[in-house]
Amino acid sequence: MTAILEVRNLVKEFPGVKALQGVDLDVVEGEVHCLLGPNGAGKSTLIKCVSGAIEPTAGEILFMGEPLPQGDPAGSLKRGVATIYQELDLVPDLSVAESIFLAHEPRHWPLLDLDKMYRASEALLARLGHESIPVRAKVGKLRPAAQQIVSIARALSGDVRLLIMDEPSAILDEGEISTLFEVVRRLTAEGVGVVYISHRLDEIRRIGDRVTVLADGRTAATGIPATTPTDRLVELMVGRKVEQLYPDRPVGTDRVLLQVRDARRLPAVRGVSLQVRAGEVVGLGGLVGSGRTELLRLIYGLDPLDDGEIVLEGKPLKAGHPRAAIRRGLGLAPEDRKSQALVLDWSETKNVTIADLGRFSRVLLDIKKERETARKELRALKTVPDDPDRVVRLLSGGNQQKVVLARWLLRQCRVLLLDEPTRGVDVATKAEIYRIISELAASGLGVLVVSSELEELAHICTRVLVMREGEIVAEVDGKDATERALLRHAVAPTDAPDLVEEVV
Amino acid sequence: MSDEETSTTTVTVGETTAAEGGSGESVSIIASVPPTDHGWLGAISKDAQAAAEKHDDVEFELLQAADADSQAQQIEQAISQKPDVLVVLPQDGAALTPVAQKAERAGIRVVNVDRLFTAPDAATATILGDNYQIGVLAANYIADELKCQGNVVEIQGLAGISVTTDRTKGFTDTIRQKCPGGGLKIVASQPGDFNPDKGLTVMENILQAQSDIDAVYTHDDDMAQGVVQAIRNAGRDDEMFLTGVGGSQDAMQQIKEGGLYRATFLYNPNMAASAVNMARLIGLDEGFSELVPPEVPRQVVVPAAVVTKDNVEEYEQYAFD
């Protein structure tokens, strides 16, 4: 088999950071090569060097045996290197079709061939099982998951020789991931090479052929088979064994903290009632678009309620007023950290303390104390680097997530709403987050966790609620919850049963 | 404004006494004027410069400011250079009064040109044109031409400064006095900001609104070019005539040719030269303000003149371009 991509001794230094310190990687025709590594290991940096988004400091990148032009995204694209980036890098103001074909639009010189563009886009989306995404709509108006599909469609829109995917599954649900894998398999059968990055280790075995493990900017192992036991992979990644991924399941008390009564905001949420008790971790499962995020936003007061009531510790919450909610002890870690959680140009400290500045301010802010406190919280989450002055924009995706979590850990809440808290987080840190969630619950908080990883819900929750089309369709006790059972509820009865089969 | 008592002195102050002042020492004069991006003001600064160059014993510096506030700042800086005399043509008389007072108090004599300071102790001597009188002359001219019967449009200068206010007031007051029957109507009165392109668009709109216009009184010759153009573009140059203010070459030329441009009203920009001469005299004669020699009057008002086709030849020497 011929090598499509050979990376030799690649070095990338950012000012003050050596993100890559001599990394090797080779991808051959028709294989799916998985990249693994803890947050901040340099995975994204590596693939950005290949795609031309950034220029490596030193080292060699050969594509089909020839050196790839460095720092030239258009050049890489032209040779057939298609990339799906970790952060959704789309232009919100372009339509779906325009985004898919940006920089290689079909043209009737000198005008755009809009018809062809729309037709080709529809075909591509259909291939991904999403023919319903309107190709004329502005990308910014789509939900993140749909945007991710657009990114994938974009990557497939040209002649692909090498497809690079940086955590494409993070915001997709099981069904969409299956479709994606189907497409990947078809591509590899045609001889396309694939680089696949994910923190979901189960996916490695489902789709991968070989694995390269990065740790700390170095290759810890390269080209090992995807069948390598998970334990071993984790050990390579984090340099130690992760003893226990899931903590003990919290039991909960009888004291009701949060009560949602028939909350309604059409079309996403159609009458939801639920309770969160002190000491409980309540999971909220479902497919993407089932309305979980919308529900959390309603509870938190970000959107006005059409109908219904949110009651916190016996007293109703004023709808549409997040500040009131925060004051009463609610906290929300939103799903899209970049657009909804972080001030990217701020230091880690400021991002951590923004929701709880009162604690540091008499008249003036005590910035020394602020910094120290932030550092402590960041350390507790093993954020890398835990330098409190570091600008958040420059952190790796997973570490940004930790900064958001640190914010709400600092502000001691009564009820914590977590929307996809482990999205983009590495295994070791996941274990850490699970442990923290469980400890918080043990200390008397109520936690409501939304996750698309049904497996983790099945392991960490006292109870799991399953949402479908804006309604809660099932409540499963934690002890009885399995990924398979949850998925059954999440998928509409009419949906293809083979989807369930395929996943489990 | 007291034009009656003070307008007696001629414009040629200083020329006669210039020779006898040669006491060997030199006089430093700083002149401050508004931005000279405008015909009349440009002529003012050129004339001042030229007048200064005629005298060996004058150290002359000319400052230009963008607006009243920066002119105040400039004069403050000038004060710190301690010249003998400051010649100030203020952008806005009221706004520049305190800083002139400050100069006077610092022992620097101030000669106020064209636009009056609002306090008497702000200047040692004043030489000014009379904007109110320009309005009066324009009103008289137009009223006579139209025999107190017809529609007049006024295109003003920049709103909110004394030049504009005075030119408007002189005009409207006189129209009211002269044509008490109300036969002469000011049908539109809009600012053109001394700017030809603003004058153009404003006049274009007024031409739309007014189907019958007999005369246009504009506050400035440069701006009037835009107004003229609007009228010509509309093909209505036979319907009305127009007057300007200032005395630009262009305006004089058009007056000579006859047609739309009928008259302009000017006070000689040479008043700047007179101001420099006056400043030199004051500077040479220390303690002048105590002595008050009769040959240097405290206030000189340069009379405004009407320039029409009949007398344009004799005024052409004063035209600026």
Binding site: V91, I133, L287 | G42, V202, E204, N205, Q225
Partner: protein, 335 residues
């Protein structure tokens, strides 16, 4: 999965904001016109007056089309007014006093404005100076040049060839000011042509998509292979070029080139663009909106001068109308 698919359709309903804004602004334009027709029934709703308003809007209108491209890339061009003045005077001195050729003036003015725009472009795209500062500097420099080039004097352009007043020869300078084709002023044709061309380029060419992409998400555009720097460069050159055309339209009507002309045109142009729904943050641009914005300002100005309001009342009224227009077209809640 069909259910989730269905809900994505819902997204389409929300992509209407810009269009809504355009409609709302069109209503404002109609309202203003109706107000004029009621207040001045004899003179306002006449063909002559409409022609006049369109002619007047053409100068700032052409600038505003260029400005739409600049603002679409999240930039700004404060120098257009000064460039108009400088280009006019430059063209004027090029033809000289014996000047006989309209073409020389037109070419010289457009070339000079384009040159100034290219200076902006270089400072911004290659010197990496913030657009606000770079064009603020040019705002000052170009005004200085306008004064410097002909010793602060205006240049008369009435003697250019082809130019008898009543009936200027086609393509002579004055023809652009007072000439008509099928009863419509040439300058209106020029404005409309540029607006339509602008719409096509922005919405129907690759270049236009690049412009939006650069303004919407520069980094995303870059990694998609958009030549970001060249696009940024180009919009300022374009803005300069259109300032040149605007100069021609202004000087043709004015019959002269004045170093003090073009004052605050940048504010009018930017105002028209923003009121038309183009976002100063970049990425969202509407030529139709800009066109309507320009008309709005022209209507306000024309109406108020025709009503012979005094300056101070005009200024207050203008502010209130602008505010009202925007409140009327306000889209959904933003925070």
């Amino acid at each position: 999965m069909t259910d989730t698919a269905q809900t994505w359709r819902g997204a389409l309903g929300r992509a209407k904001t810009l269009e809504f804004q355009e409609y709302a602004l069109a209503i404002v334009v109609v309202l203003l016109f109706v107000a004029g027709a009621i207040l001045k029934p004899d003179t306002f709703p006449t063909w002559d007056n409409i022609r006049n308003m369109l002619t007047q809007s053409s100068v700032v209108g052409v600038l505003a089309i260029g400005m739409t491209f600049v603002i679409a890339t999240a930039g700004i061009d404060l120098s257009v007014g000064s460039m108009v003045a400088a280009a006019g005077v430059f063209g004027g001195i090029m033809v000289g006093t014996d000047g006989t050729s309209s073409l020389v003036f037109i070419l010289a003015a457009i070339l000079f404005a384009t040159f100034l725009g290219t200076c902006n472009a270089t400072a911004i795209a290659y010197g990496r100076v913030v657009p606000f500062i770079a064009t603020l500097a040019m705002f000052s420099i170009a005004r200085g040049l306008a004064l410097l080039l002909n010793d602060k004097l205006p240049v008369s352009l009435l003697d250019l060839n082809g130019g008898s007043f009543g009936d200027p020869r086609p393509f002579s300078l004055l023809w652009f000011g007072v000439g008509r084709i099928f009863g419509i002023p040439v300058s209106v044709f020029v404005f409309l042509a540029i607006a339509i061309l602008g719409w096509v380029v922005l919405n129907r060419t690759r270049y236009g998509r690049y412009v939006i992409a650069v303004g919407g998400n520069r980094e995303a555009a870059r990694i998609a292979g958009v030549p970001v720097r060249r696009i940024i460069f180009s919009v300022y050159v374009l803005s300069g070029f259109l300032a040149g055309i605007s100069t021609v339209l202004l000087c043709a009507r004015l019959g002269s080139a004045s170093p003090v002309s073009g004052n605050l045109y940048e504010l009018d142009a930017i105002g028209a663009v923003v009121i038309g729904g183009t976002s100063l943050a970049g990425g969202r641009a509407s030529i139709v909106g800009t066109f309507l914005g320009v008309l709005t300002f022209a209507l306000i100005f024309s109406l108020m001068t025709q009503l012979n309001m005094s300056t101070e009342i005009q200024q207050v009224t203008k502010g209130l109308i602008v505010l009202g227009a925007v409140l009327l077209q306000r889209p959904e809640a933003r925070y």
